[in-house]
């Protein structure tokens, strides 16, 4: 039965990420002063899901060997949009939800158009669009705030606990994976995205829908970052054009993607891996709190752990016999 071996090889990155996360989380929960309680898990889940969503967004673009440095700003922008529009009336709530998601998708579409038709390199195009999106967020919310008739109760639905203490955020995340990632990755368009990342020229010569695939990943990235922004609104129940958040979420999404076994060169990896990578990354941060490491030392610890974890991938080099393989 060789098929399971193929499945293992195909999903190796994701499985490793899952393993790392489980280890981190176990250490965290077993050392947390409050122990493995529903509240502890819920708080961790809420924060983790935020980064997981942005990491999923980043994965989409990285699959095509691009990079999206605007995911953090789309995240913040949608947070600001939602803080204005998520109003108490049912119609208002639905409208707010739809518009927020539409804004995210639109930002992604603009990125896509610039990369595909403008033929700009993703890294520089998204640096520039990131500035524009952040400017828009600032314009919407020069100071942190929230609409007067904001629908706070609706937000609580998504950030609390459901039956058996299962965090609502995890359920929502699973829903996003099922509705967005699973169909896409199994569709012809999704596969074309992998093809583009693996070898764009070969994909083109083989007749794969290169442009459509690239456009779809950027739109989905914007949408997912928008969902993340929505979730941030649920959590904080306010909107803030925080540049610190924008840049840190962008950079952490890249770290999560790498931890999640997605290749920055494109063509391999899965958004599910990136989710575990994000959760593991969050867990690292929380570990510091749990072990009572002085706040002063936390940033250094976080940086060293990040450096060490990405260096682990270098262990594969020990077995390399043909030096030419080192050079792409």
């Amino acid at each position: 039965m060789r098929d399971w071996r193929f499945w293992l090889a195909e999903n190796r990155g994701t499985l490793v990420a899952l393993a790392i996360f489980l280890v981190m989380f176990t250490i965290y929960v077993s050392n947390h002063p409050a122990g493995f309680t529903a509240n502890v898990v819920n708080t961790a889940a809420n924060k983790g899901v935020l980064l997981a969503l942005v990491a999923m967004a980043q994965t989409m673009v990285v699959l095509t060997s691009g990079i999206d440095l605007s995911v953090g700003t789309i995240f913040v922008l949608c947070n600001c949009v939602a803080s204005h529009l998520l109003l108490v009336s049912p119609l208002g709530t639905i409208f707010g939800l739809l518009v927020t998601l539409a804004v995210g998708a639109l930002c992604g579409a603009i990125n896509g158009v610039l990369v595909i038709f403008g033929r700009l390199q993703p890294i520089v195009a998204t640096i520039a669009t990131g500035a524009v999106y952040y400017g828009l967020a600032l314009w919407l919310r020069p100071d942190p705030g929230v609409a007067d008739d904001f629908n706070g109760d609706f937000c609580d639905l998504f950030t609390g606990k459901l039956a058996f203490g299962v965090p609502a955020s995890l359920v929502a995340l699973t829903g996003v994976v099922l509705i967005v990632w699973a169909p896409f990755s199994r569709s012809a368009l999704g596969r074309a995205a992998y093809a583009v990342g693996s070898s764009e020229l070969s994909a083109y010569m083989s007749g794969a829908p290169v442009k459509a695939a690239k456009f779809s990943v950027y739109v989905l990235a914007g949408l997912l970052a928008g969902i993340g922004g929505l979730y941030l609104t649920f959590l904080t129940q306010s909107g803030e054009a925080s540049s610190a958040n924008a840049s840190s979420y962008t950079l952490f999404s890249i770290a999560s993607v790498v931890l999640g076994g997605v290749s920055l060169f494109g063509g391999s990896g899965s958004a599910i891996g990136a989710i575990f990578g994000a959760l593991a990354f969050r867990a690292i941060g929380d570990l510091l709190f749990v072990f009572n490491i002085e706040p002063l030392w936390q940033p250094l610890f976080q940086g060293v752990v990040l450096l060490a974890s990405v260096s682990i991938g270098a262990a594969r080099l020990v077995g390399v016999r043909n030096r030419l393989e080192l050079f792409g």
């Binding site: 033929r119 500035a131 314009w139 920055l264 940033p299 990040l306």
Partner: protein, 327 residues
């Protein structure tokens, strides 16, 4: 097509040598100045221009290091906190014993070199993508500085030498900072264009495998490039600290994206292997001018960000586009 016989392997004409992208960037600079002068005539005054060049010098030093790394086909996202390290460590070292004011600047640069070497080892020998390694080193550098300053704003003052480099104007009113950038720039230009090291950098950025098989120690070249980038970022931080008379937390953060933008707007390919220093100079001036004009016009921060992004996009669309897949 016949082969050349006569030694008309003479150097190509000036027009052929000038990089088209650099020309475009300089053209944009002039357009910006003219547009700004419509708003206020003081935009074309020598005082204003000189001031802009002085401010551009700090970005210019950082962008020089960034350019070398980008030419290799890599990126250095550790610039923000290496800048901070340079500024903070040299300010602190200035107060360290009697020799402090003598060694503090080399010490600050040395710290930058050390961090750059970590980047270089990660990229060249461990083959980790530069985006990730430099991101991690940035986090580590931040962590180190937080511990060093105890989380507070750094209290050490910049040494007189630092202040002199950044703010002095001994030579006919030409700012020292500009002269410093000029020297650094000249050195970088020479390195890239007229040395075997520079030739190797371009080759590696184009095709590392072929460079390796041609007998180049590509790993060492990459290591040196990142060390240079670290040194220059730290030196930029030293100048900034001299300018403000002391270092500050997160002082390097506003310089990362402008440094990358400067290099790219100057015509260098973000994928490596292509680009001239003259282009980077144009890019630096362009970015500085843009930021300055936006702030003088007193446009609120939101509008400034949007304008900044739109202008960069516009310029990239003019001359930063890739090739079509189908010809």
């Amino acid at each position: 097509m016949t082969s050349q016989n006569a030694p008309t392997a003479a150097a190509p004409s000036l027009l052929q040598r000038l990089d088209k992208a650099a020309l475009a960037a300089f053209a944009c600079v002039i357009v910006l100045l003219l547009a700004g002068s419509l708003y206020s005539s003081s935009f074309l005054s020598p005082e204003y221009l000189l001031q802009q060049l002085k401010v551009a010098s700090f970005l210019g030093v950082v962008a020089t290091g960034m350019m070398i790394v980008i030419l290799l086909g890599q990126i250095d996202l550790s610039a923000p906190w290496v800048i901070a390290v340079g500024g903070m460590m040299s300010a602190s070292a200035a107060a360290f014993g009697p020799f402090g004011p003598w060694i503090n600047i080399p010490f600050g640069i040395g710290c930058g070199v050390a961090l750059g070497l970590v980047n270089g080892v990660g990229v060249a020998y461990l083959r980790i993508p530069s985006m990730i390694v430099t991101l991690a080193v940035n986090a580590v550098a931040q962590g180190l500085m937080v511990v060093h300053t105890g989380g507070f704003s750094p209290q050490d003052s910049a040494s007189p030498a630092m202040r002199f480099l950044a703010t002095g104007e001994p030579v006919f009113g030409v700012p020292n900072a500009l002269i410093v950038w000029g020297i650094v720039g000249l050195g970088a230009w020479f390195l890239l264009k007229r040395t075997t090291f520079g030739r190797a950098v371009y080759a590696i950025g184009n095709r590392e495998r072929a460079a390796y098989l041609s007998g180049v120690d590509t790993q060492k070249v990459t290591l040196i490039a990142f060390a240079l980038s670290g040194a220059l970022s730290a030196f930029g931080g030293i100048l900034l600290a001299g300018y403000a008379s002391k270092a500050a937390q997160a002082m390097g953060d506003p310089y990362l994206l402008p440094a990358i933008a400067s290099v790219v707007l100057g015509g260098a390919s973000i994928l490596g292997g292509r680009g001239t220093y003259l282009g980077t100079v144009a890019g630096v001036i362009l970015v500085t001018l843009l930021q300055s004009i936006l702030s003088v016009m007193q446009i609120p921060e939101a509008g400034r960000q949007i304008a900044y992004g739109l202008v960069i996009l516009a310029m990239l669309l003019v001359y930063g586009r890739g090739d079509r897949l189908r010809t």
